[in-house]
């Protein structure tokens, strides 16, 4: 018998979800502490760096956990489940933006803003690489962007991404390569050796 109960830090996400379902607020606090920041940054990246929208999405996602904890699919890991929920929320937002703006995926408006900075980015070199990188990332179609973000921005494994998106690992790997190659080609002028070559 253990003298001390394990700390909430030692509980797995799945155990915390069970405790949340039974009304344990400490479990919710711990789960929020683990995932609030990564999810906020994920929404921030996926939703055109809109901080307010990202905060709202984090709130809505955890509100769903509070109000319907039974919606958690116990057959899956919590991490892949919550990212799949977040990804679906982003997809729904893309659709809403598409309806409002009449654009294909709602990203063009933000891309246009980014395009205005192309010349400046080329001139200021690496310090603005990040902004153009984000702009080009937003230009990617949804399925390639989500795979790339999950792998290289959120640090998930290919297996986890396959579970989240419910597609094969090979397909995930192919999508990530495609997105990477696209970004590399679009941002080639920021590459030091290439810049020298052009200069």
């Amino acid at each position: 018998m253990r003298l001390f109960r394990p700390s909430y830090k030692e509980y797995t996400d799945e155990v915390l979800m069970q405790k949340i379902a039974s009304g344990d607020q400490r479990a919710f606090n711990d789960l929020y502490e683990r995932y609030a920041t990564p999810l906020l940054n994920y929404f921030f990246r996926m939703l055109w760096k809109d901080r307010e929208k990202a905060e709202d999405f984090v709130h809505d996602l955890f509100a769903k956990i509070i109000q319907k904890p039974e919606s958690f699919d116990t057959a899956r890991t919590f991490k892949t489940w919550i990212y799949s929920v977040a990804n679906n929320m982003c997809k729904n937002e893309y659709k809403r933006q598409q309806v409002r703006s009449g654009t294909t995926n709602g990203l063009e408006a933000y891309s246009a803003i980014a395009d205005e900075n192309v010349n400046a980015l080329q001139q200021t070199h690496h310090s603005l690489f990040g902004e153009e990188f984000q702009a080009k990332l937003n230009e990617l179609d949804e399925k390639h962007r989500e795979a790339f973000v999950f792998r290289h921005m959120e640090g998930l494994s290919i297996k986890e991404i396959a579970e989240i998106l419910e597609i094969s690992e090979g397909t995930i790997k192919s999508r990530i390569f495609y997105a990477t190659k696209y970004l590399a080609e679009e941002l080639v002028h920021y590459q030091p050796e290439k810049s020298k070559h052009h200069g």
Partner: protein, 261 residues
């Protein structure tokens, strides 16, 4: 997490790739230039992923906390003494107290202490055990003198010592009678003041027959404790305490003397 092809692109240079890795990359990187371009993008992505992140606002958490309370209700906190850490600390504190305050009831041998020089018999007399304090007398012990002499009419004796008691009473009575007879014989005639208020023994009485007649006609036997107690210091049994037993004994003596003389 197992390394995949993207980790290899970030970590290795193009000329460090082995044939297997080159084969896997061939579909996406046809030459070193494309490899470096991908490497640059992935390195930037990694720096973004590991770089500073924005933190959620406190207001978001507060709204969620309110929602949680409204949905699940407020949890009742457990008393602090139910916490295992507190219980363990209490056990440790008790253990430490026992260790730091040992049992000091033992008297050191070399300590100078006063000795009680009284004899053991004296100790026994002053030793008040609960049994001796109790008014209940053990059947094996000899009853006190006043109780030994007490005789309750109509109640059978409680043990076999009653015969001995009666025998002792009889002997005592006979001794008192003999002593009284001797005293009476020598002093009755001359000591007219003895029992004068009751018996009105005349100084002129010459014989016991006259005294007998006078007693039977003038005086009356004592019938109460008070009567006897008043003259207790004058009675021949002054050495004994005035008790109902003594009254009975005196009555017997007086009756005996009346009958005899």
């Amino acid at each position: 997490m197992a390394k995949d092809i993207f980790d290899i692109i970030i970590e290795k240079e193009y000329h460090q790739l082995n044939p297997k890795e080159l084969t896997e990359l061939a579909e996406y990187c046809k030459n070193e230039h494309e490899f470096l371009a991908m490497k640059h993008v992935l390195a930037h992505s990694k720096s973004v992923a590991t770089g500073p992140k924005i933190a959620p606002r406190e207001a978001t958490k507060q709204k969620l906390d309110e929602l949680f309370v409204n949905t699940h209700g407020r949890q009742r906190s457990r008393p602090f003494y139910f916490h295992p850490v507190f219980q363990a600390a209490a056990v440790l504190a008790i253990g430490f107290a026992v260790w730091i305050f040992p049992d000091n009831n033992e008297i050191p041998e070399k300590t100078n202490l006063a000795e009680n020089s009284a004899p053991k018999t004296a100790e026994k007399t002053t030793d008040h055990s609960p049994e001796e304090k109790s008014p209940v007398i053990s059947t094996k012990e000899t009853p006190p003198e006043n109780l030994r002499k007490t005789k309750t009419p109509g109640i059978a004796p409680a043990n076999g010592n009653s015969d001995l008691m009666e025998q002792a009473e009889a002997e005592e009575e006979s001794r008192a009678l003999v002593r009284y007879k001797a005293e009476t014989a020598s002093e009755m005639v001359s000591s007219a003041d003895i029992h004068a208020d009751r018996y009105e023994v005349s100084a002129t009485m010459k014989s016991s027959e006259e005294a007998k007649r006078s007693y039977s006609t003038v005086s009356a036997p004592a019938v109460s404790v008070k009567d006897i107690s008043v003259d207790a210091d004058k009675s021949p049994f002054t050495s004994q305490p005035v008790t109902s037993m003594n009254v009975a004994a005196q009555k017997n003596v007086m009756n005996y003397l009346t009958a005899k003389y």
